[in-house]
Subunit: 355 residues, 2 copies
Amino acid sequence: MTEPVAARPCAADVLARTRDLLDPALRRAVGTLPPSMRRVAGYHFGWWDARGRPIGGASGTGGGGKALRPAFTLLAAEGAGGETTAALPAAVAVELVHNFSLIHDDVMDGDRVRRHRPTAWAVFGRAQAILAGDSLLALAFAVLATGTDSGPDGRTDNRPDGVPVLAGRVQSLLDGQSADLDFEERAEVGLGECVRMAEGKTAALFGCACALGASYGGATPSQSVLLEAFGERVGLAFQIVDDLLGIWGDPAATGKPVHSDLRNRKKSLPVVAALASGTPPAGAALAALYRRPLAEPELARAARLVEEAGGRAWSLARVDGLLDEALESLRAAGLTPEATAGLEALARLAADRDR
Amino acid sequence: MTEPVAARPCAADVLARTRDLLDPALRRAVGTLPPSMRRVAGYHFGWWDARGRPIGGASGTGGGGKALRPAFTLLAAEGAGGETTAALPAAVAVELVHNFSLIHDDVMDGDRVRRHRPTAWAVFGRAQAILAGDSLLALAFAVLATGTDSGPDGRTDNRPDGVPVLAGRVQSLLDGQSADLDFEERAEVGLGECVRMAEGKTAALFGCACALGASYGGATPSQSVLLEAFGERVGLAFQIVDDLLGIWGDPAATGKPVHSDLRNRKKSLPVVAALASGTPPAGAALAALYRRPLAEPELARAARLVEEAGGRAWSLARVDGLLDEALESLRAAGLTPEATAGLEALARLAADRDR
């Protein structure tokens, strides 16, 4: 006799549904921008090409990424018993902040390809991309303060004020990105500070996505706290998976060159875990290799050394541990069963454990 | 017999008083940032050097500029009958937005000197300067939403919500900067679109500074509208004066190299007015000169041609006209006589007509 398996919703279905809710609101918000800013923003989101001609695309798999963070926001609101639409401004704001950070990141890193297309700065120049990123950041706060667009004054209801919460997580994100850039210049980076960097760079916004959704959905303060903890752990797991893809990811799937993080000598978590592992031959060889820019044939060797020094195993184990902790917080929050199941599916997707 | 002259307050005294109100609140707000962001921000404000060592400076003449915009905010609040401190968060937010835009501007223009010191990016690198600018922008919204710092949730009183207003003016500012950069690449720029660019780049934030101050001070909607119009005209006059200084300014006073805007072939207002003047010999010679990068000896000739083609005269007349219009709106707003006199003094200072 086999144990009956509880039906778990498919993450792709959850994302398709939340994306359908998000997209019109996101387009409406971006539609309020001056044409100069809208032009670059819509290109970045994959809505039109460099000359403004619309790009078709199947719903949910468009050029604008998976829109994972706002899906967490919308499900958290539903799970707290609120209307999904109550959290729509928060979901839009979180997605705008994420995309602001991508546009500026690409300028800072000099990355020319994202989502299989030239990055915004590669098309419009660095200055216009910096301005467009600034524009999305300001728009996020306007959307959160007014509802779905950056219109005239005045709040229309007594929703919680998410502006200071979002602003605080944006500071964490910037602090994490600053540390990430600093680490590239430094010879030694500890595993603890590398984890803290990833918590700022990625986990804070995932936590914020969940906490804002919960509070816009009418959650109790302790539910919001538990959902923020859930989101932060999912976000850190997501960053570790992203770091693994930055070394071993298939360019056809990631949209980035193979070994991209090794080319930039990023101190990503698998690399720092390997360097900090104390595994003498591989760890020392990796440290020696990482001291200067890597030539093309050395990239595969560096990847092998990260694996031999235990960087990959550490990462995979940490992802599993984080996912367990996240799901424990999620269950403790006591949301509706449907939302809990949907959030679990999203968490497994983010942690690359949805198979 | 001479006509008795009404005592007009000295703009420097007005600025010294508002700066004393602003500075502690501004430092408190920046003090809430992560150390990585605070380090660059405080350097930019002239509070410490590149290694974090405090810099002394007489109050009101410190390295952080004149803090002109927040002075308008605080006086507008007083003039509307409110407490000066009621508008302090708005004043801090306006000054943060201004400084965010300066930091990103210097990155985009590649300018290495501001306020007689190396710019933030020249000291900390472009990426850290981009992040620090982002940080000040997010902080501005947090301050406006919560009071004087970016602390935890919740508004403490029922002040008007300035977040959407400020966000809208930030979009105008970005749109203006985008046009400014575009103009550098274009052969032909009309005077009308050049004025609209300056209205976005500079006038919008001056207008916002006045309107937010008024509404935080309890002004009626029509008073806020009149004060926004006042601020926008003052701001446009300020930009024209700044453009004149970009050509004829004394480097010892401006903190920038002589002829700096001509070196970059900026399509500033005096230049575009000269090109559009239809004054055949000088205008045509200037157009020919502006077609390619200018060599050192050509800069003085370009400045002379701008003058001969009437660019300087147009600018000076426009400043006078804008100041008259601004003062008309100011008087119509019916603020307290003290605040009206103070705002007039600030307007004359901004328009370089305070002698």
